[in-house]
Amino acid sequence: MADVIKCATRDAYGAALKELGSRDDILVLDADLAKATKTITFKKEFPDKFIDCGIAESNMMGIAAGLATTGYTVFASSFAMFAAGRAFEQVRNSIAYPKLNVKIGATHAGISVGEDGASHQCCEDIALMRSIPNMVIINPADDVEAKQAVFAAAEHDGPVYMRFGRLAVPRVNAEDYKFELGKGVMLKDGKDVTIVATGLMVNEALIAAESLKAEGIDARVINIHTIKPLDRDIIIKAAKETGAIVTAEEHSVIGGLGGAVAEVLCEECPVPVVRLGVEDTFGKSGPALELLKIYGLDAENIAIKAKKAYELKK
């Protein structure tokens, strides 16, 4: 494993913005977190197209909306907690309702924020954003996917919520990987159970599938990078073909990927669905990797849940 490339998706966000910067219509906004969200990478190259709105996320979303009404494609950046949490209603009413071209770059999502603790560990953002009409949600698995997701967001007509992490995570996609908005990716075929994962849990899902193989369970692994609109077809097909589903996400078990998958399957193809995520609780301070273990967000726990789903279908 020593040669696995590790990179935080927030770094890919900054790098992608820099590549987009030569486009006349691109503007990047931040709320005094440029060094952390990595919009600073863009700012250094395009200082005139970078607008620091200060510590006022609600206003930043309104500024972004106003700029977008005049034809700009605006990337508005903050931590997930403040972008989706504090500014929820501005995102809903000033951006999504008028369907404006604002792309929300939400970094430091999930429990892997680490030492900053619960006040900054946003595990509710997918649930919040998913409930808003017109909103597209992308939660990339690694830096390769994150970078392409940013380009796809820039091309999409309407608001997009992009979820990035603070922690450097292993790369799971090849450099020539082609991102397609709204399309799930089957990373490994299997017939006994399907692990539907998103974000940093995709790599864990692949490891879990390996360990399940040793126990004689043939697990399929699907990466859902676009949580909304959800690729219903790939999920229904997996349910029909494998008969059991486990969802894995660094987000609350309420209202995130697990919720979305369960909603589709109970209407279209009811099979056992076991959701793995942050249980209905606040996080705590600690090193990110330790926290992921403590909260059960690892390959070992995915394998346990996969076996549970597999048993349930019998």
Binding site: G54, N93, P98
Partner: protein
């Protein structure tokens, strides 16, 4: 201001007020009080000030208008209809299913509406973004927004005020419709935002105080706003909630209730009389 122009604006303002009553009566809901209090300012903006063209509502060089106090949409709709953005007859469809006139302004449904608003405090931020875009693009359009005086109790207004002051957005004019009434009572009874003038000045705005029902003062204020450089402009427009309909004036109960049939007749008769007086 020339007498003819003033007379013309006064007549249009009566029609805007009639539109407010017509719309809210037919909808059996809506917000007549604050719509009537901004009728004169909005009439001035659309009929004497703003560079807007109903034939080309998306012109990138047009002046922009954001109704931050979005609940007073009936006044905006009446002004847009009389300006020619859509037929005046549609005012009667306000708030009904399939109408282009939603309860609060929506830029996706209504020609001439530059921004969807309704949740207080958000419009001024969007207006700041539009003004900033004008600066970035080197355009000379202006952005106008109207806030309620109660609305400025929202914290986001002051985030926006700080941003506009710091960015020296002198192409932004924010009107505070100062009628001193909000739903639960008078401003100072509920949660006083006073002093309004000093607050905006502290955020590096130029502040102009006027009688919001006097077209001469309204014109002077917007002319001064054009001349002001380096700072955004706040016009504190002293107004009467319910202005122009005797039984609605200065009553906070008319913030969000529609007239019944009897009240509708009285209100329309008063406004017809006001029009007849102007036509003498």
């Amino acid at each position: 201001m020339e007498e003819n122009k003033k007379l013309e604006l006064k007549k249009i303002a009566v029609n805007v007020r009639k539109g407010v009553i017509e719309g809210t009566f037919n909808a059996k809901s809506g917000h007549p009080g604050g719509s009537l209090s901004i009728a004169d300012v909005i009439t001035y903006l659309y009929f004497a000030k703003m560079n807007v063209d109903p034939a080309n509502p998306d012109d990138e060089n047009r002046d922009r208008f954001v109704l931050s106090k979005g609940h007073t949409a009936p006044a905006l709709y009446a002004a847009l209809a009389h300006k020619g953005f859509f037929p005046v007859e549609l005012i009667k469809t306000l708030r009904k299913p399939d109408s282009i006139l939603q309860g609060h302004p929506s830029m996706r449904y209504t020609p001439g509406v530059d921004m969807s608003t309704g949740s207080l405090g958000q419009g001024i931020s969007v207006a700041c973004g539009m003004a900033l875009a004008g600066k970035l693009k080197g355009k000379d359009y202006k952005v106008y927004t109207i806030l309620g005086d109660g609305e400025i109790e929202e914290g986001q207004v002051w985030e926006a005020a700080m941003f506009a002051g710091n960015r020296q957005l002198d192409n932004l004019v924010a009107v505070v419709d100062y009628n001193n009434l909000q739903i639960d009572g008078s401003l100072d009874e509920v949660n006083s935002p006073y002093p309004i003038k000093e607050k905006f000045e502290a955020f590096n705005w130029n502040v102009i105080e006027i009688n919001g029902h006097c077209f001469c003062e309204i014109e002077d204020a917007f002319t001064k706003a054009d001349e002001c450089k380096g700072k955004p402009i706040c016009i504190i427009s002293k107004s009467v909630k319910g202005k122009g309909v005797s039984f609605m004036e200065n009553k906070c109960d008319w913030h969000g209730s529609a007239p019944n049939a009897e009240q509708y007749e009285i209100a329309m008769a008063e406004l017809d009389k006001a029009m007849a007086d102007l036509e003498v």
